[in-house]
Amino acid sequence: MHEAVNPAPAYFWLIPLLPFASFILISFVLIPLKQKLLSGWVTIAAVFGSMVLAFRALLFVIPGGENARFETNIPWFTIGEAHLEFGITIDPLSSVTMILVTVVSLLVQIYSQAYMEDEQPRAYGRYYAYMSLFTTAMLVLVLANNFVQLYMSWELVGLCSYLLIGFWFQRPSAAAAAKKAFVVTRLGDLGFLVGILMVYYNTHSLSFDGAREKIIEMLNHGTSPTIITIMAVLLFCGAVGKSAQFPLHVWLPDAMEGPTPVSALIHAATMVAAGVYMVARLYPTVFNPLHQETTQALLVVGVIGGFTALLASTMGLVAYDIKRVMAYSTIAQLGFAMLGLASGGVAVGIFHLFNHGFFKTLLFLTAGSCHHATHTFDMRFMGGLRKYMPVTYLTIVVASLSLSGIFPLSGFWSKDEILATAMHQHHIIYQVLFWTGIVVAFMTAFYSFRMIFMTFHGEYRGGAEAEAGHTDAVDHGHHLHESPPLITVPLLILMVFSIFSGYVFLNGKTYGLENYMHFMGGHEGPVDMFVAILSTVVALAGIAGAWAVYQAKMVTAESIGRFFGPLYSLVYNKYYLDFLYEKVICAWILVGIGNLLNLFDSAIVDGIVDGVGKSIRGAGGIVRRVETGQLQAYALAIFAGVVVLLGYLALMPKR
């Protein structure tokens, strides 16, 4: 068993325990007592406490630099030779991610106080209970140091996502979306579980460190790296499901049925980040144990990430629902982060994840702010909100600029690192992925500003009433107003993070990108000017294109759609993937197999069981004919027996 390097101080256990206490308190005390606002405040207090401790953890870890590790384990239970432990690990990776989770969670909880204020007390309490449970599970996941704990919190996070997507479960679309999310991620988790079992089978260790040591030993003694690659790819299946990569990306757009803060927290910043986090955590264990430039497993990760980014960006170009656009953007950016993990290692991928968490959450919350004013999410019925909602407008522009990767915002730094490391890889596939990334950058800028121009510029097109069909009541926006402070203040705070999260302010000194990279174990080098200039040019071209089509109306969107013809309808229908999954696989193949198995069950299995009964009845039907009721027949049988006995006695040898 691998012993902890340094034990972590016990108060760090409070990081997951505070939100858990909040969950228990809300579920068992506040909801029965019909408290409403108190649930929110309890959750906010708990998450605030966790956030403070997360910052403390970061301070703890900084002196040790790249190799700092603090670990505490408590024995959980033992099965045979496997000793399961429950532990927390404080190291650079987990402390940085914890900061992301707690800060975003805190701001979203504050935002939810205003957004969910129209709910009944019971529903309000339920919302905050689920949010607390989710925060607990996510923090346990980040702090996990063994596979069992990771898998357990993984599933728990998926459960909370299901509960929260289907929060308004009376809506059939919401219930269906929750089910779809859970089932699709479960498919990924199947591969994940097989991967975990395979790791245990080969290394007999359930902790990350133990597995890593064993694997390095195996590779040094000549084991074929193919087994490790297979393990890594299976584990990656879980990330494909959880982080909505191709082909399991179909659940995330539908998950927008949930409340907007849920989409912001879970489906932008934290839960979907769990997949990227898992790859980062297992990077030295299975993905790249020997610290090579790249491995087969990382190639798979990179290709899937890059392809997903391309696919999702194209779908984001044509969506009309503002949250859908952001969902596709999330899928694409997570693919980008996966690509970053593959080409540049843990530091590059997590850096992009960190930045993306802030500006994507901000984008979702601004969409919620728009909904608060116009009561619709459909961009075709919004417009001209710039006049009425200046704060929201400012924040969304900053967030989109960061997403597009404009210097000197945070998004620029992380995107630049990903593209630069991809270009510097020697394998040919990374070159292809590099150019894919350039195209994705163009499309990202394009659809982000398309969103802004359609929503905040031009004339207001009526909002929810127009969407419902009352075209005569095209509201000229007289009643539109900015959202209350509980909504706008978190937006502003997130805006600050979106600008500056490329740097870390500590102790009055400014730690720049170089220190961060060194801290996270990456290699430092000068900024690659070619990549920087190319990516900025491409992003500006995307913004200009969006301005041309949606603002200046030099070319209309419909004419572009007609120009691309069948390609446009292919993209608009999400490449018919949903159709494939639902109509073909589920309706035909699975139902067909189900009918076949049903036939098997009723004919063969029931046949055997019934057959046993029927054959006994049949045998009985034959045997019962012995009972003729004829007295003399019975007597005959008796005396025949007597004769046999007598014959035996007569012939028995005499004593």
């Binding site: 003399q632 027949a633 005396f639 025949a640 007597v642 007598l646 007569a650």
Partner: protein, 166 residues
């Protein structure tokens, strides 16, 4: 073992009639004929008992079997016969199997009897068997005697209960 000529003659004669009568009981298809031959068989049995120096038993045999059981059987025949008298005692379908089993039984029985080394040697010819029976019946066998009397009581009551009209 006696070798008295008259004894032998008596034995074989009585046995022959006995066996013949038994056969006729079984073979005759008229129930009344069977009953009458049954009476003959009972009588011959009493004769066998006399040959065995069991006079009291012979007397009881005549009294009870011939005088009571045969009468009861005849009453039964009288009260239950339906068909023509000549067909009232037919044989059923399994007579062949019954004959085989009976034959096998007979063969086994005879073999057992003949091959068993009986330790004979008893001589009760000098006894007054009736007085001896009386002595023993009220001394050693008093309990079975009383029990049999209770049994007869039960049988009486039982027969009445079973057979009465209700």
């Amino acid at each position: 073992m006696t070798n008295d000529l008259w004894y032998n003659l008596a034995f074989y004669g009585v046995s022959a009639v006995l066996i013949l009568a038994s056969l006729l009981v079984v073979v005759r298809t008229s129930i009344v004929h069977s009953a009458l031959f049954l009476v003959v068989a009972f009588g011959m049995t009493a004769g066998i008992f006399v040959l065995l120096h069991a006079e009291f038993v012979a007397a009881v045999q005549v009294l009870v079997y011939v005088g009571a059981v045969a009468i009861v059987v005849l009453f039964g025949i009288m009260m239950t016969h339906r068909a023509y008298m000549a067909e009232s005692n037919a044989t059923n379908q399994q007579w062949l199997w019954a004959a085989l089993v009976s034959l096998a039984f007979l063969i086994c029985g005879v073999l057992v009897v003949v091959f068993t080394p009986w330790k004979t040697g008893g001589d009760i010819t000098k006894l007054d068997t009736t007085m001896e029976i009386g002595k023993v019946l009220f001394n050693t066998y008093a309990l079975p005697f009383e029990i049999v009397s209770v049994l007869l009581l039960a049988a009486t009551i039982g027969a009445i209960v079973v057979a009465r009209e209700d």
